[in-house]
């Protein structure tokens, strides 16, 4: 526990230090503090709430240093609730009726501090009531999740794992992580590039002596020196062949490497994606994720293999050319290279213009794919409500936005290449003019001028292709960022650092003070539940009462925001996720069948299962017979949504799937609600086999299907309101009774309607 010493003031933010020191008496220890960041009108203002041993001190937000204090006494309590991200903390005195003494507001950012303060406050008030000193805890628990903290650990590692450090803007360099395994191939590729670029620079150099020593003397009446010509032409041929071979090997090696990097990038991203929690998938759209994994890795790939390579070649070429030009004729070289700064400036200018453009085009493009990802799975709804026109319109609009964005960018982009060409022409003109002038003054030769013209012809095309790197880099950087957005995302259901092995479980589940918040909505609050091994629990309640959320918490699809879920006394957050889920069998309302054979689908959770095991599971799930009636038996193919099979048949396959892994804990989430009564009976028989001897948690809308449950847990708005068996709950005439009566009435109506027909 924080020791009762003045040093605990040090944990306050700096700006409060002096002010607090002025308002507390000497030796008065601060037990807890809460920074307030909102005033009563909900404006952002600073305030502070402090708890000392015998009073509560507050500097109201926005009050400019007005302090109030309340002596601690029995009957005082702090109560907090939140709505839409704003929490209210109320100090209430219990007299003949509760009286509100004061209230404070803060954003949920400070919720942890608030919970800690409330906890301390309650302890102090209890101590005053009983006259005993407040119990000191041996273990410190995180106020949010109640996980035990190490001594001296201020913040809970589980709660602070959501780091808000943005990825660096130098995202492209992060690709090095993927390039590193191939560094030797990359180095070879680079050296080959160097050599082949050198080879391509030889031919223009040879035109110089050819001109000055052979052709011009010939024009002046000297005969042609054939052996010399042969040597020069031979040199040209060798240089061309060398450049060809080296370029070929280089391109091949680097293309291989880049494909491998692309593969690694895709698989790593997918692996990471699979490890993320359901919360992540809930917030993302399928089209967007598919686009990221498909197009964007491809774009990075092209960038690495083509664009970057070309760029390296270009830079080398330019440098080497410049060196050669200067060695031949420094003055002419200087004039030739004069437009370079202009081009560099132009590139820089356009880079600024294009930088944001490509990222925005990507987003707009994702919007286009999102329309597809939305409507194609929902095509039945679209058609049923005759909204084809509207969806087509939506798609047209998305395309229109994409077009508009591209149009805007192309305006800048299109002017770029012609400008580079224009500069090339001007550069050539300058070289011609200066070259002729130099020749006229006998400072240069025709051969030198020819060589220069040959060189800078290549030189400026290089600059032109170099300018393409601008857009390629931007696109690749944008793509890299979006890939790393996935890779940097830490799963909100993290793997424990030192997972506890869990080879066997008995199936005892206990939930203690569980709370769960989805966004700013509190879905489950202060829930306590103990489930014995082998017990069958039926979860009932209106839709939206938190039943499915509770099941998601038990499966650890989400982590509790408060409290803990324990299995055999072990917090499930300390068990490796895969290790834990192996003990859980899940049968969902809407069974999902993967593309593949029925046998593969049954063995999904245990791919190494033998055929006999698969058949045994199918028999137990009452699926064996209908499978045999299919043309190819267990080898029949089923599609994405299990086309060709009825809802009940698919459900029984998913029950067989759960049976095969022989889990200790079984979760049935509305497993029978999507089928008719006849099929339900079949499924019920299958389920009866399934639940035997396992801890079972069943959610069912039809209360009749929960007859076998040992206990029924009735939930309402995120809390357990009743627990007991059917008869108890009926006798109590509470929530369950009303639910049951309502269903009976419904059934009776259906039956009587049937009679009238």
């Amino acid at each position: 526990m924080i020791s009762a010493s003045p040093s605990s003031i040090l944990t306050l933010p700096d700006r409060w230090q002096t002010e607090v020191a002025a308002h507390i008496s000497a030796g008065e220890a601060i037990l807890a503090s809460l920074e307030l960041d909102l005033d009563h009108r909900l404006h952002f203002q600073q305030g502070l709430l402090l708890l000392s041993e015998n009073r509560l001190l507050a500097c109201e937000a926005g009050s400019q240093g007005v302090w109030k204090s309340w002596e601690l006494r029995t009957g005082l309590r702090l109560q907090h609730h939140d709505h839409a991200g704003v929490a209210t903390l109320e100090l209430i005195a219990q007299e003949d009726e509760p009286v509100l003494l004061a209230s404070w507001r803060y954003t949920l950012e400070h919720n942890v501090a608030a919970l800690r303060l409330i906890e301390k406050f309650d302890k102090q008030v209890d101590a005053i009531a009983t006259g005993l000193p407040p119990e000191t805890e041996e273990f410190v628990a995180c106020p949010t999740c109640k996980a035990l903290l190490e001594p001296g650990q201020e913040e809970c590692p589980i709660c602070t794992r959501e780091l808000h450090t943005p990825p660096s803007t130098w995202t492209l360099f992060r690709l090095w992580r993927f390039a590193r395994p191939y560094r030797w191939q990359l180095l070879t590729g680079f050296l080959l590039t160097l050599a082949s670029t050198g080879a391509t620079l030889v031919p223009p150099y040879l035109t110089m002596p050819l001109m000055d020593e052979v052709l011009i003397p010939f024009q002046n009446g000297k005969p042609i020196d054939w052996p010399l010509v042969g040597m020069y032409l031979g040199g040209l041929t060798v240089a061309a062949l060398l450049a060809w071979v080296l370029g070929w090997i280089r391109t091949y090696i680097l293309a291989l490497v880049s494909e491998r990097i692309g593969r690694d990038l895709r698989t790593t991203t997918y692996d990471h994606l699979m490890g993320l929690s359901l919360e992540y998938f809930g917030g993302k759209r399928t089209g967007d994720l598919i686009a990221r994994l498909g197009n964007e890795t491809d774009r990075i790939n092209v960038f690495l293999s083509l664009d970057l390579l070309n760029f390296a070649t270009d830079v080398l070429m330019i440098t080497m050319t410049a060196v050669i030009l200067f060695s031949i004729n420094p003055w002419l070289a200087l004039v030739t290279l004069l437009p370079l700064p202009f081009i560099a400036w132009l590139i820089h200018f356009v880079r600024e213009k294009l930088r944001t453009g490509f990222e925005r085009i990507d987003r707009v493009w994702a919007e286009v794919t999102n329309v597809l990802a939305d409507t194609i799975p929902g095509i039945r709804v679209v058609k049923a409500f005759a909204q084809e026109k509207r969806e087509a319109e939506r798609f047209r609009e998305a395309n229109q936005r994409n077009l508009a964005m591209n149009d805007r960018l192309n305006k800048t982009w299109s002017v770029f290449s012609p400008t580079v060409t224009l500069l090339t022409e001007i550069g050539l003109l300058v070289v011609w003019v200066f070259g002729i002038w130099q020749i006229a003054h006998n400072n240069s030769t025709v051969g030198v001028l020819t060589a220069f013209l040959a060189y800078i012809g290549r030189f400026y095309t290089r600059l032109d292709s170099m300018s393409r790197i601008v857009s390629a880099t931007q696109r690749a950087a944008a793509a890299t960022k979006r890939i790393f957005d996935i890779l940097d995302h830490v799963s909100s259901v993290p793997q424990p650092v030192n997972p506890r092995p869990m080879p066997q479980v008995t199936g005892q589940i206990s939930m203690h003070d569980v709370g769960f918040r989805y966004g700013n909505r509190s879905v489950i609050r202060n829930l306590d539940l103990d489930i014995q091994p082998g017990e069958m629990i039926g979860l009932v309640g209106h839709s939206g009462s938190g039943k499915s959320t509770l099941v998601n918490l038990i499966c650890r699809f989400y982590d509790v925001t408060q409290g803990s879920v324990r299995i055999d006394g072990v917090d499930i957050r300390s068990i490796a996720i895969a290790d834990y889920r192996r003990h859980i069998g899940l049968v969902l309302q809407e069974p999902f069948l993967f593309f593949g054979t029925i046998a593969e689908n049954i063995a999904y959770g245990k791919p190494e299962a033998t055929r006999a095991e698969i058949i045994a599971a199918a028999r137990a799930a009452h699926a064996h017979e209908f499978i045999l009636r299919l043309p190819q038996g267990y080898d029949s193919l089923v599609g994405e949504r299990g086309q060709g099979l009825s809802g009940g048949e698919r459900q029984r396959i998913s029950i067989a799937r759960a049976l095969l892994i022989n889990p200790r804990i079984l979760i049935l989430d509305e497993a029978t609600s999507a089928v008719d009564t006849e099929t339900e009976k079949e499924i019920q028989k299958a389920l009866d086999n399934l639940v035997l001897g396992r801890t079972t948690i069943a959610i069912a809308h039809r209360l009749s299907t929960l007859r076998k449950a040992d206990r029924l847990v009735v939930m309402d708005r995120g809390q357990i309101v009743e627990i007991g068996n059917h008869d108890d709950l009926m006798a109590r005439e509470g929530h369950y009774y009303r639910l049951y009566q309502a269903q009976q009435r419904n059934n009776a109506e259906i039956v009587s309607e049937g009679d009238n027909e």
Partner: protein, 156 residues
């Protein structure tokens, strides 16, 4: 529609108490707008503690001044959607990014988890959710100053 017959009062623990024409008394009443964004002045429900609708008000204008004052005061303490008037700075253009903003409720900073937390509203409006689920409103992004628009553009 005639005036709704109910009286409102605040009890000592600071909660609203609603008494209906039939004499039934409901404590801990919460006023809730049905369309807080699209039509804040139309459709208001008074919800009981256990989440049932007690009174439905078609438009806020039908309320008498006393009721209106109590409901308004309750709503101001409950509705929290700061309207951003200026983006002062953002920590990075890659998310998660910390935004420093000036709002109609003072300046503050919040963390934007991802671009998908920016929701588009009709008429160039934006609704931005921070990492704690607090919603920030930009009524018309075209009406922001140049600096803010430039920063914002990078996230859209």
């Amino acid at each position: 529609m005639s005036k709704i017959e109910f009286t409102l009062a605040r009890n000592r623990s600071g909660r609203l108490v609603c008494t209906l024409a039939d004499g039934s008394v409901h404590a801990n009443i919460t006023p809730v707008r049905a369309f807080p964004l699209a039509a804040p002045n139309e459709g208001l429900a008074l919800m009981s503690q256990d989440g049932h609708e007690i009174v439905w008000v078609d438009t806020l204008d039908e309320l008498n001044p006393d009721q209106r004052a109590l409901i308004d005061s309750e709503l101001t303490g409950r509705e929290f959607m700061p309207e951003i008037s200026r983006l002062n700075s953002v920590s990075s253009f890659a998310t998660p990014s910390t935004w420093s903003v000036t709002t109609n409720r003072g300046t503050t900073a919040f963390v934007l988890k991802g671009e998908e937390d920016i929701r588009r509203l009709p008429n160039n409006g934006l609704l931005i959710a921070d990492n704690h689920g607090i919603l920030y409103l930009i009524a018309d992004r075209k009406a922001l100053d140049r600096h803010s628009r430039k920063l914002l553009e990078r996230f859209l």
